[in-house]
């Protein structure tokens, strides 16, 4: 009844091509932004911000990165965590070598490093497709992780082999390091995620996004229409790795505050792949849904037994969490193989005709 587009006539192509062509969607996105920017920092406590919201946003960003590659361009990658690691270590090196430069600049720069590495490992995509390409990205994953462990220069020869994030400020307020307040960190992450999501949405709605999807859906036809395959795929690798790199830098600098190479293991890559698939391949909003479900669900599951008064050992809860997440993945795939994003669309469609069945 309230979600109807009847009566909203578009009189020019620009209005029809807008990302949110329906008025109600515009209002919806404004409400979400207001919630994220104003309500959550006001209401949420430090724990909620730094344990739930910041990680969720970081994972959402990494998922968008992987989604651009796997969901939009159809190139399966299992090296996400490796590319995130490149971002994190690049940011660490840059900011320790040039401490006076603003950290935000270095976060973007580390994304560029990650993009370069991504392009390099994307080169085989010219000849290799599907699962075969997944193995190529596994090579990236294991090689990069090995580098993080074996090249002491990357972590400034720390004895622990881990990196510790130094304090960096923005307008005189610390945003990284032990003194940064959760609110400040939250705002920086949120700002970057909003900006990068907007850019991703612009890209996928334009010529570049169409070329990506054309390569995904029918690469031969795409080439016969003048789309060069290699540059298109490499661009997808570059943009995707840029997003993952930035997500990795954010993860270490604004969430963990330090990291061991273990953080960027193959399991992290799988986790982000889950988020993308459960959220919905080829959907930006789905990346947020997927990140929310896969990241927040285990937190809830861990907290649930004590909430209802059950006394189960921590290890048992951990194992049960694994089982439940695994089972849920299968259930989700059976119920809706196109992910949460498709459920969302179906829901909107239902809302459009509500209260009538059709």
């Amino acid at each position: 009844m309230f979600y109807r587009e009847a009566g909203q006539f578009k009189t020019n192509y620009a209005a029809d091509m807008a990302v949110f062509p329906i008025l109600q969607d515009k209002i919806g996105i404004a409400i979400i932004l207001a919630l994220a920017l104003v309500v959550i920092p006001l209401v949420g406590n430090a724990f909620f911000l730094s344990v739930v919201m910041i990680p969720f946003l970081v994972f959402a960003l990494a998922s968008i990165g992987l989604n651009l590659l796997t969901g939009y361009t159809g190139l399966l990658s299992l090296g996400t965590a490796g590319f995130m690691g490149v971002g994190a270590f690049a940011c660490y090196k840059l900011t320790t070598i040039f401490p006076e430069v603003n950290i935000i600049v270095w976060i973007f720069a580390s994304g560029l490093f990650s993009a370069a590495v991504g392009v390099f490992f994307g080169l085989p995509s010219l000849r290799i497709k599907g699962f075969y390409l997944a193995v190529a990205t596994l090579a990236a994953q294991f090689f990069l992780q090995w580098c993080f462990i074996r090249i002491p220069w990357l972590y400034n020869y720390n004895v622990s082999g881990a990196i510790e994030v130094p304090t960096r400020t923005l307008f005189g307020i610390p945003v990284t390091g032990p003194n940064a307040s959760p609110e400040m960190r939250y705002y920086v992450v949120l700002g970057l995620v909003i900006l990068l999501t907007w850019i991703a949405s612009n890209l996928v709605h334009g010529r570049i996004g169409r070329s990506w999807m054309a390569v995904r859906d029918m690469d031969i036809a795409a080439e016969l229409m003048g789309i060069k395959l290699l540059p298109t795929k490499l661009l997808a690798f570059a943009v995707s790795s840029f997003y993952c790199g930035v997500a990795g830098a954010l993860m270490v600098f604004l969430w963990y505050g330090g990291a061991e190479p273990e953080v960027f293991s193959i399991n992290q890559s799988f986790l982000i792949l889950f988020m993308v698939i459960i959220g919905g391949l080829g959907s930006l909003i789905g990346s947020f849904f997927g990140a929310a479900l896969i990241y927040i669900l285990p937190i809830v599951l861990r907290g649930a037994p004590s909430l209802v008064g059950l006394d189960i050992g921590a290890a048992t809860v951990e194992h049960l969490t694994f089982m439940i997440v695994g089972a849920l993945i299968i259930v989700f795939l059976i119920v809706e193989p196109h992910g949460l994003a498709r459920l969302w669309q179906t829901g909107k469609q239902k809302l459009r005709v509500w209260p009538f069945p059709y």
Binding site: I128, L138, E318, L320, F322, G326, A327, I334
Partner: protein, 318 residues
């Protein structure tokens, strides 16, 4: 110049000057190759017959070995435990068919692939819940598997071969031969190959997909159990094996996803290449290159032969 020397000349000088070490390294490589090949074999079986890229093969190996050891520790005699474990693998196959494959029939490959991810997670949680997360020792003696080693004198040095490795190699060859006969000569084998080519066409001539899937997953379960026993006897039974199982992927790339001999040859190449690389070239870059060398070998190989070792040249049609 020094660098070039130490990369291109020195390792070969070393190989020449200590041939016994070379033989030992080759043997080590072959042995780990056999185990990679066994895991890859499980992948190939399932991929051939259902088109599912079964990510859970690695965890199935762990799960099978854990069940066997867990049952024994619970007081079941070794041989009975072995039989019970086979029964458990059968139940697993039925469960997977009923709860995962059947509802997902006709979905794109990536969805089925993801479902096996879910299965992996589930089995990890389930295995740890039932048997605990600590590494266990394989019941080698109780299963009448030989221990100890045989030593050969060769090139003025000693080469030592573990008896269990020899057994593994023999069991692997017997299993591959049996599978080859099964695939080529039996009625079910023909049905399996038909299903691999086209689900719909196989259904239309009256082959029961469900039955075939159970058989295939059960066979893969048996292969997993054998792999688990061999692997467990060499090191220990733990979930770390799951990451090592990923090595089966480069093996598959070399051998092709659908070729049983390919899986074997690919496994041996990867095993040997990896050990040689680690032993002779590893020290140059600070060792540990075993973790990624296999993937890079496969990658380099793919660039020249995208269809794998035994695959036919692909002619794209439109």
């Amino acid at each position: 110049m020094d660098i070039l020397y130490s990369i291109f000349i020195d390792p070969f000088v070393q190989m020449g000057s200590a041939p016994d070490l070379l033989v030992q390294t080759l043997w080590e490589g072959l042995v780990s190759g056999v185990l990679y090949a066994l895991i890859a074999l499980g992948f190939v079986l399932i991929f051939k017959a259902s088109g599912v890229f079964n990510f859970a093969q690695g965890i199935m190996v762990v799960f099978a070995a854990l069940t066997l050891v867990g049952l024994y520790e619970a007081g079941v005699p070794a041989i009975l435990a072995l039989i019970l474990t086979i029964a458990v693998m059968f139940l697993l196959a039925v469960g997977v068919e009923r709860l995962v494959l059947r509802p997902l029939v006709n979905q794109p490959d990536i969805i089925l692939f993801m479902a096996t991810f879910g299965l992996t997670y589930f089995l990890i949680g389930f295995g740890e819940l039932v048997f605990g997360g600590n590494p266990k020792v394989m019941i080698t003696d109780e299963l009448y598997l030989p221990r100890g080693s045989v030593e050969f004198e060769m090139f003025g040095g000693f080469v030592s071969l573990q008896k269990i490795d020899i057994t593994a190699a023999i069991i692997a060859s017997v299993m591959v031969a049996a599978l080859a006969v099964f695939f080529q000569k039996t009625r079910i084998g023909r049905a399996l190959r038909a299903v691999a080519d086209s689900h719909k066409a196989a259904l239309s001539v009256g082959i029961s997909l469900n039955q075939i899937w159970i058989i295939v997953w059960f066979t893969a379960g048996i292969v997993a159990l054998a792999t688990g026993i061999m692997w467990g006897a060499r090191s220990e039974v733990s979930f770390a094996l799951q990451i090592i199982a990923l090595k089966a992927l480069p093996v598959l790339i070399l051998g092709g996803f659908t070729s049983v001999p390919g899986a074997i040859v690919g496994g041996l190449i990867i095993g040997v290449g990896e050990k040689l690389g680690e032993f002779y070239w590893g020290p140059l870059v600070g060792s540990g290159i075993e973790s990624w060398l296999a993937y890079v070998i496969a990658l380099g190989f793919l660039l020249f032969r995208p269809q794998g070792l035994f695959g036919e040249r692909i002619i794209e049609r439109i």
